[in-house]
């Protein structure tokens, strides 16, 4: 029941999200891609919980992830807003202040 199908699916979703995170140049879009990676991870988690017959634990863990993601989204979007307000830039390639 578990094993290949859902693992393949979540791995593919994670890779897709990672690709977007790495390449999208819009800060909000990057955040959206991070959400996809988080979703992929919790999907895998739930699948494992199902397989292990530990519904409550898996669900609780996934719930924790959901809340984490919500908090991350709130703070992340807040940061984006503040950055834009301060610098007028919302694109990743413009934000290179830590350049070495």
């Amino acid at each position: 029941m578990t094993g290949m199908p859902v693992t393949l699916l979540s791995a593919a979703l994670f890779g897709l999200g990672l690709y977007g995170t790495l390449t999208r140049r819009d800060l909000v879009a990057v955040l959206a891609c991070v959400e996809i990676m988080l979703g992929a991870a919790s999907l895998q988690l739930v699948a494992f919980a199902r397989a292990a017959n530990a519904l409550g634990n898996g669900e609780a863990l996934a719930l924790v992830l959901v809340v984490l993601a919500a908090a991350e989204a709130a703070v992340g979007l807040g940061l984006v807003l503040a950055t834009v307000k301060r610098t007028g830039k919302s694109r990743v390639e413009e934000l290179t202040e830590v350049s070495g």
Binding site: P5, D26, A32, A49, E59, A70, V80
Partner: protein
């Protein structure tokens, strides 16, 4: 059989939504894609028999996060300006990294068998307030911190 069909349908739906988020040029299409992805994942939760989680996913993500993203995009939207994606060489490298990550994940988790549940507990509430109470409490703190942090970050810029 139908269960497998349901799974693959939902999976395809999620993949399509994710692809839209990653590749779409239009802001609204991105939001719609994200919504599709989130709903598909919620559906998969249901498929695994976790109704409450699916409901939470829908409420928190679709009702909260998605609306936030939408607001942010509408506030900041300057689409059509600049490149959608990073320059070619880096693009390919990122694709390689992402593909590698997916492959590695699949390979790692393929043979993973979660240990059988010692105390199979189906009651989410009992779990959260029982063995997972510390995590649950920490989540509360985290949410509060995130709330305050967001206010400070966004508000701080205004005061300056």
């Amino acid at each position: 059989m139908s269960a497998t069909v349901t799974f693959w349908l939902l999976g395809a739906f999620a993949l399509a939504g994710a692809a839209a988020v990653v590749f779409s040029r239009d802001a609204l299409r991105l939001v719609v894609g994200l919504g599709a992805f989130l709903l598909a994942v919620a559906g998969l939760y249901l498929y695994y028999g976790m109704g409450f989680l699916a409901a939470a996913q829908v409420f928190v993500y679709v009702g909260g996060v998605l609306v936030l993203v939408l607001f942010a995009l509408l506030l900041l939207s300057r689409d059509g300006r600049g490149r959608l994606l990073a320059p070619g060489g880096f693009d390919l490298a990122a694709a390689a990294v992402a593909a590698g990550m997916a492959a590695v994940l699949a390979l790692t988790l393929r043979d993973f068998r979660p240990p059988g549940a010692q105390a199979a507990q189906a009651d989410l509430g009992a779990t959260l307030l029982g063995p997972m109470l510390p995590a649950f409490e920490l989540l509360g703190v985290l949410l509060l911190a995130a709330l305050v942090a967001t206010l400070v970050i966004v508000g701080g810029g205004e005061r300056k």
